[in-house]
Every structure is written in C-alpha cells, then in structure tokens.
Amino acid sequence: MPNQEEIYTKVSATLVEALNVDEDEIKPSATLQGDLGAESIDFLDIVFRLEREFGIKIPRGELFPESIFQGDPEFVQDGRVTEKGLAELRARMPFADLSTFEQNPELSAISDLFTVDMIARYIQTKLSEGKPAEPSVN
C-alpha cells in the first residue's frame, strides 16, 4: 500500500490533469472549487481518474456527496447547517476535516470541505479498507 506522501503526490498529479492547474497551486488546504476552479462536471472526471490511478472503485456520492441537504429542514435552517446536519456530514464524510466548518456552518461554505487533503485522506481510508486482513500470528 502506498504511503501518505505517495498518495498525496498521486492525488496532486491527478488534479493537475483533471483541472488543468499548475502543480504549485496544489496544496493540502486548497479547495477544489474556490482555489482550483473545479466545476460540477470536473468532480466525475476526478473520480474516474482516481479510480484508474489507484485501482479502486468509488461508489457514486461517496467521495463527493451530492446535495446532501437539499430541501431537508432538519439539516439546514436559515442557510446554516444544524447539529443534526453536522452529524450527518460526519457520518457521510468521515474523511473530511470539519473543524473550521463547524465554527461557522454556513451552507454556502460547504464546498470548502472539498480540499486536496480531503481526497488524499479518502483514498487512504479506501486503500486500507481494501487491504486483505493480515494473517494472525499465533
């Protein structure tokens, strides 16, 4: 299994190709939409490339959940994500860093959760899941 740094390097290269950005624009905290200019159609392209690059299967909505909160008043009130909504986010995106978002959970800021680092962490989780169990030593 590739280590953290190898995963990050591969994720960076994938984003450079998919979003046609310069390598030096890619940093762990860079947001896909805000900093790297990703559009909705780019997300599926990124998913395709990651699947090929890492030999994994990324089910729909797992890495980039689509409109989690659309029209659900329990999750969003007055443009802000509720406690229940935050819990849903944690459950759906355990690989995302919610610490900043939680302090001011404006729905409009939700796209900022999608960062380079988030993808790298997702891939890491995914690769360790797929790893066959170590034989137990007795």
Binding site: S40, I41, L44, D45, F48, E51
Partner: protein, 166 residues
Amino acid sequence: MRWIWIDRFLAFDRGKSARALKNLSLAEDYFADHFPGYPVMPGSLILEGLAQTGGILVGEANDFREKVVLAKILWARFHREAFPGDQLIYDVELLNLRAEGAAVRGRVHAGDALVAEAELFFAHLDQARSGQFGDHNFVFSGELKHLLGLAKLQADQADNSGGPEN
C-alpha cells in the same frame, strides 16, 4: 448544413469500441471559409466527429436511455491537417462508463497518418440534471441513432451475402 460529422460505422463493439469513417469533400461549406485558398477541416469539427462516434458508443451501451452530452474535452492533440479528399477514420474506445457519465479515448487517422487524438468526457443529463431538458431524448432523436441503425443494416447485409448458400 446537417449536424452529422461521420458518414458510416465500420465497426461497433458494444460498450467497448467503435470505428467510423468520414469522407471530406471540398463541397462541404466550411472549406470555403476555412481557409480561402487553403481548405483544411477545423480541428473542432474533427473533435465533433470523435464526439459523435464516442457519444453513440456511450449511448448505445445504455440502449439510448440516457441523454449523452459532451461535457469536457480532457485533452486533444492535433498532428496533421485534414484536407478535402481525405478519408478520416475515427477510433474510439470506452475508458469508463457509469450512471453519471463516461470517458472515451479517440484517435483519428487519414491513411496511416495520425491526424488527431483526444480524451472526451460525456455526462448523462438525466443523472446530472434531472428533468431540466424534459423527457424527450433530444440527443439521440434523429440522425445519430439512425446512423447506427444503418450500420447494423449494412452488417446484416454483409452477413447475408457472405454466408454459405443453402
């Protein structure tokens, strides 16, 4: 001008690959302006031919239930100009296909010469933006789908004429 940029399918392997041909005639309108005295096929139209070949490959894989639209050209390289009298061969292979969309890689040859290559990305509108364009499948409504039907007919005829006589 009718918006059909391939003339015929030569091969079609469902969900895998497709090959189409396009004959370039000096009578085609765009040659008059692109460029006066030096007619070359615009690169964008070469890509359109690839997109139509690839789009039908992607659409047919789901029995034309999806509205397949060209969403992104991941990269494209042009190696040689295409002139009146050239016969372009479009080869497309499917890289990914899933509910939301598909990616294909394509190459265009004129004889042995590589003219262009590109990777194209298609979105399924039904999945991505449900309902925005209505129920009617405007992508595969006419000529594009008809072309594939024609290819099947040609293939059947070839099978029949080439088969053993009873």
